[in-house]
Amino acid sequence: MNATMTPNRVTIQEAAPVKKTAIDDVVLDCKVRKIHYGDFLAVRDSNVPIARKQITGFIGPSGCGKSTVLRSLNRMNDLIDVFRFDGQVTYHGKDIYARDVDPVVVRRYIGMVFQQPNPFSMSIFDNVAFGLKLNRFKGDTHEKVEKALRGAALWDEVKGKLKNSGLSLSGGQQQRLCIARAIATEPEVLLMDEPCSALDPIATRQVEELMLELKENFAVALVTHNMQQATRVADKTAFFGVDMSAGGRTGYLVEMGDTDQIFNHPREQLTRQYVAGEFS
């Protein structure tokens, strides 16, 4: 499933140089030792490498820390006062949690799509152009906006009304607008936290198709509660569990592997039970 099936879409070309290697080309190497909210140990010991040209799915029961780990990958959690991260997230050989790293800059390279569609209260065009302006983009903004909207499979629906408010779109269109906004600046990595949970099945399919196209150029990390979605789109799947032994509910990575392996031949008993729907 790719651009050839939907000829009217143009995928964004060449976000990053492509290495032709058989092994995974890890672009964001996340090694969590401990993540605290205040005194509460939310996540421990989880290594989740995010590879280029792949979708890495995060699954696991509610509260196991999927969002927490995902939001650690672009330092979104820094906005929460009590958040403390112990570990490393290596991006191009640099730990983004190093002292001299500016989290604001990190977020420009590692884009994020949220669970709830959250377009700005401005025109569709300005929504997509927002990141370009932010990065003082000097080239042809119109071209970039069109490219991003095509990339998000939204162009045909909005090309006649780019001046309308982004909030006037339907929920599914808003979410695709947010994806367009995130990919307009061509970040290398796209983090998506349950991007389809507010969408109907048709819009969900559209966004899924879109993710499959996006992975040609971006590394995508996707949190999902939907097992079918994980099997449909994820190349790699990371399964998180909850460990109650220490008193609190601490999330940790149970196992990670090819999606096919996780769902069909899980190594861990816990994974087997979870993917079979035996607990939640």
Partner: protein, 303 residues
């Protein structure tokens, strides 16, 4: 043999016997309906009663003031004692000037303060104290703002002036601007701010490119309401701008205003002055009305 139709009838009778069919028609004379009707009538009456003073004032203004409004009234200088004709052009200019000065002080200061209260230091002690003080200030008798500006500006500059009047009005506008702007910016959804942070905005970029533009309609509504309130004030101007029979030519001299002109002329024993006071009132009300309508238009949510 029993005909089919009668079997159906039997079934219907059975059903009716088991469960009485509810009467859905409106029962006008049932006690519940009567009570509700009575209440509705009462609220109607109260609303009408409350509107009576407003409409009678408006009616008088239009009848009495409308008769006197012409180009002369809008542009000429106030007449002296037994003089005929004249107008209040200088008072219109003076009011606009002082409201302008007041806005120039209160709007930027108020919005910046609101940014602090709503975003930067929302939960700090400073914010709590100043929010409380702003609320207290909204209830400040307007004459005290005049007294303050008299002490702070008039005594210091040695003269009544448009500046002193503007400071007094600005002081009255400030709390309204601060509180409405804070509210407007607080209403900007957290997820919009998250989106902006996620794009790699610094805090000030989030404020400038997302929070302020999104909250702008609400902020402007507050500003307009504050302006409308200030335009109609007379008490704070008594001590600060005083009055003048001439067009304002410099900032540090007594300055005319519509509200003071109305106050002065309405107490005079001359018909000419009294009719001018009516006309000036109509102009003032009209100005406030326009500002209020603008506030409504701006405040409407855009989709």
């Amino acid at each position: 043999m029993i005909p089919v139709a009668s079997m159906v009838d039997d079934d219907a009778a059975m059903a009716a016997a088991v469960r009485a069919i509810p009467r859905l028609e409106r029962q006008t004379f049932e006690s519940r309906a009567l009570k509700s009707g009575l209440l509705t009538t009462l609220t109607w009456a109260a609303a009408l009663l409350a509107a009576v003073p407003l409409f009678s004032v408006l009616y008088m203004l239009v009848v009495e003031g409308g008769a006197r409004i012409d180009l002369e009234a809008l542009t000429a200088l106030p007449p002296a004692g037994f003089e005929q004709g004249g107008g209040f052009g200088n008072a219109i200019v003076g009011t606009l000037l002082m409201v302008g000065i007041a806005s120039a002080i209160a709007v930027p200061l108020g919005i910046v303060a609101a940014i602090y209260l709503s975003i930067l230091g929302a939960h700090t002690r400073v914010a709590r104290v100043s929010r409380f003080l702003a609320k207290v200030l909204t209830g400040l008798p307007s004459i005290l703002a005049g007294v303050f500006a008299y002490a702070a500006v008039v005594l210091w500059m040695g003269s009544y002036s448009a500046i002193a009047g503007g400071v007094a009005l600005g002081m009255l506008m400030l709390p309204t601007v601060v509180l409405t702007a804070e509210e407007a910016m607080k209403e900007v959804p957290q997820r919009m701010k998250d989106a902006a942070f996620g794009m790699g905005c610094t805090r000030s970029q989030v404020i400038w490119s997302v929070v302020l533009p999104t909250g702008l309609p609400g902020i402007l509504t507050g500003v307009m309401l504050a302006v409308a309130g200030a335009a109609g004030e007379s008490a704070p101007l008594l001590f600060t701008a005083l009055f003048s029979n001439y067009y304002v030519s410099e900032m540090v001299e007594p300055t005319a205003s519509l509200s003071i002109l109305i106050y002065n002329f309405s107490a005079m024993p001359f018909d000419n002055q009294i009719s001018l006071a009516w006309a000036a009132s109509l102009v003032l009300v009209f100005m406030v009305l326009i500002i209020n309508i603008l506030a409504r238009l701006i405040g409407q949510p855009k989709v």
